[in-house]
Point group: C2
Chain length 327, copies 2
C-alpha cells in the first residue's frame, strides 16, 4: 500500500463516533468505534475524534489523502461549519477548521444523509448513474438527489429534505411543526407512534407486539413492528401496509419531481423490512405517470453497517480529489 490511496471516513452520531479507513473502491480497511460523550464540549469531541484517526493511521501504517465527516444536522459544507446539530446541541461549530488543524490534512464536512448518498453514488447501488434519488428511512427520513451527474445542493444546501415533503395535507403533525410530512407517516418515530396507539386501542390484537416490547406499550418501536410483521402478526402487517402506502406516495412525488433513473431505499426501517422495497416498486408502477418510469429502477441501498463512514469518505474524495480519479 502506497501513501495517499485511502481516505478517512468519520461518522459522528448521537451514540457513537465511527472512524474508518476507506480505499479507493469504497472498501473498509479498518474501523474504530467509540461512544459519543454527549456531555462533552465540541472541542473535546473533536479531540477524541482526532485521537481515533491517529490510531487508525497507526494501524493502517500510511497517511490518508483527506478526511470526510458526516453528521446529522444543518451543515455549511463550503465553510465546514456545523450550523446546528440537534443530537449534540452544537451551534456554529467550525468542525473542518478544528479537525484539519489537529490532523494536518484536508477535511470535508457534510450532512450524514448527504454523505450516505455520496456513498451509494460512488461505491454502492448508484454507481454509474447520473440521475438518482436516495431515500433513507430511519427514525426520521432523509435523502439525497443526483441529477445530471451532480449532487443537488440547492440555494442553502438543503436540497433533498425529502422527509418533509407533504403527502397528507390533513395528516398528523410532524416534528418540524408542519402537517402530513412523509416522515410523519413513515419515519421510525411515526411508525412507533401509530403502533403504540393501535396497541392501546386493541391490546388483544397487539399481543405479539406487546410481548416483544416486554409488556410496555411505550417500548414499542419501529423495530418491534418490523419483527412482529416478519412473524406474520396481523396488526403489525396492517401498520406496515400503511407505511408502504405513505412511502409509495412519497416515492411517486419524487419520481415526478426528479424523474430519476434509480430510486434507492435504505435506512433502519428498510433494513428491518426489506420487503418494503418490492411493494414500493409495485406501488410506484401502478400510480406514477408512465413516461416518468420508463427507465426507473427501484432498489435497496448496498452500503449497510458502514454506510456512514464510507459516505463521509466518498464526500471527501469528491471534495479533494480529481473527480475522474475516483468515480
Amino acid at each position: 500500500m502506497t501513501e495517499n490511496n485511502w481516505t478517512v471516513g468519520i461518522d459522528i452520531g448521537a451514540t457513537k463516533i465511527e472512524v474508518a479507513g476507506i480505499d479507493r473502491n469504497g472498501n473498509v480497511l479498518h474501523h474504530i468505534r467509540r461512544k459519543t460523550n454527549t456531555g462533552s464540549s465540541a472541542e473535546a469531541i473533536e479531540s477524541g475524534t482526532a485521537d481515533a484517526v491517529r490510531e487508525l493511521m497507526r494501524t493502517i501504517g500510511t497517511r490518508p489523502v483527506a478526511a470526510g465527516v458526516g453528521m446529522a444536522g444543518q451543515i455549511d459544507p463550503l465553510q465546514g461549519v456545523v450550523v446546528f446539530s440537534p443530537n449534540l446541541d452544537w451551534h456554529n461549530v467550525p468542525l473542518r477548521k478544528g479537525l484539519a488543524a489537529k490532523l494536518g490534512m484536508p477535511v470535508a464536512v457534510t450532512n450524514d444523509v448527504r454523505a450516505a448518498t455520496w456513498g451509494e453514488w460512488l461505491y454502492g447501488a448508484g454507481r454509474g448513474y447520473d440521475d438518482m434519488v436516495c431515500v433513507f428511512v430511519g427514525t426520521g427520513i432523509g435523502g439525497g438527489v443526483v441529477s445530471h451527474g451532480a449532487m443537488l445542493t440547492g440555494c442553502s444546501n438543503t436540497a433533498g429534505e425529502i422527509g418533509h415533503i407533504t403527502i397528507d395535507i390533513n395528516g398528523p403533525v410532524c416534528t418540524c411543526r408542519n402537517k402530513g410530512c412523509l416522515e410523519a407517516l413513515a419515519g421510525g418515530w411515526a411508525i412507533a407512534r401509530d403502533a403504540q396507539n393501535a396497541v392501546a386501542d386493541n391490546p388483544v390484537a397487539g399481543t405479539a407486539m406487546l410481548e416483544l416490547a416486554d409488556g410496555d406499550p411505550k417500548n414499542i418501536t419501529a423495530k418491534v413492528v418490523a419483527m412482529a410483521a416478519q412473524k406474520g402478526d396481523a396488526l403489525a402487517l396492517q401498520l406496515v401496509e400503511r407505511v408502504s402506502g405513505a412511502l409509495v406516495a412519497g416515492a411517486v412525488s419524487l419520481v415526478h419531481a426528479f424523474n430519476p433513473c434509480l430510486l434507492v431505499f435504505g435506512g433502519g426501517v428498510i433494513e428491518g423490512l426489506p420487503g418494503l422495497v418490492g411493494s414500493i416498486d409495485y406501488g410506484i408502477r401502478s400510480r406514477a405517470l408512465g413516461a416518468a418510469i420508463i427507465n426507473l429502477k427501484v432498489v435497496r441501498s448496498q452500503l449497510h453497517s458502514h454506510a456512514g463512514v464510507i459516505g463521509a469518505a466518498a464526500f471527501a474524495n469528491h471534495s479533494f480529489r480529481d473527480k475522474g480519479d475516483t468515480v
Copy 2:
C-alpha cells in the same frame, strides 16, 4: 436589424397556433395567431405553421437564426419528436424534422411548460438565478426546475411533473388515475369540480357564481370562481382558500425537494387570482424548514400573454446558440 439576431417562437395549442419573432432580449418583434384546425393531419398543421413562419419572416424582413416549438404533451427533445400530444391526438410525430425541412432552419421542440420555464429563466422572473422552480397553474399544473444553473430533464425528460406530486394521500382521483395529486386539488379543472359541487350543495351561497355562469352550474369554471372571489363572494373565497392551502402544501414539498432560491408562480389560475402568490409565500414561511427558505423568494411569472412563444424561442436559443451568447 441584421440577420440572425432573432428567433422564431412557436406555440402549438389545442385552440390556436401562435408564431412570433423574438429578439435576443426576449421581446416580441411581431406575432401571428391562427386557429388550430384540430381535425387536420399533423402534416397539414406543420404546413400551416410553416406558412405562418414565412409570413412572419416577410414582415420582419430578415431570416431568424432558428425556431423553437412548445406544445403540450410528451416530447422527446433530443429527437424533436412529439411522442404523444393529447390535445391533437398526435403519436410519434417527427415535428422537428418536418418543420426543419419546410423552413430550412434548425428547429427545437419541447413541452409547453418546459418552454415557459425557459422563458422565465432567460427573459422573465428567473433572470440570473441558478436555482429556480416554476409552477404553472392552469387547467392542469405543470412546471420546470433549474438547479445548479441547468434545466433538469431527468431520466426520461419528465423532471418537473409537479402537478402530479401527491399532497393528499386520501384525496380525490386525478386525471392521471392516482389520488390526491396537487393538480387534483388546485388545478383549474379541480377548482371547477369543487365549485360545481359546492354550488350544488348550497345554491343560495352559490348565487354569485351561478349568475356569472349564466345560471348553469356546469358553466362554473376556475375563472368564474376567481371573478366571484375578486368581488368578495364568501363561497368563492372559501374555495380559493382551499386552493391556496393545496398550493402551499405543494410548494413546501418543492422547497424541500429542490431548495430553490426562487419560486415562480404563473398560469391562468394565478393570473385570475394574483393575490394567491402572497398567501402561498406566507404559507411556505409558516410551514417550511427554516434552513430551506433562508434565501427563498416567491414571485409571479413575468411573461404573460406571450409566454408560450417567448419560451419556445428561449429553448431554441439554448439549443442552438452558444449559451454565453444568450443568457
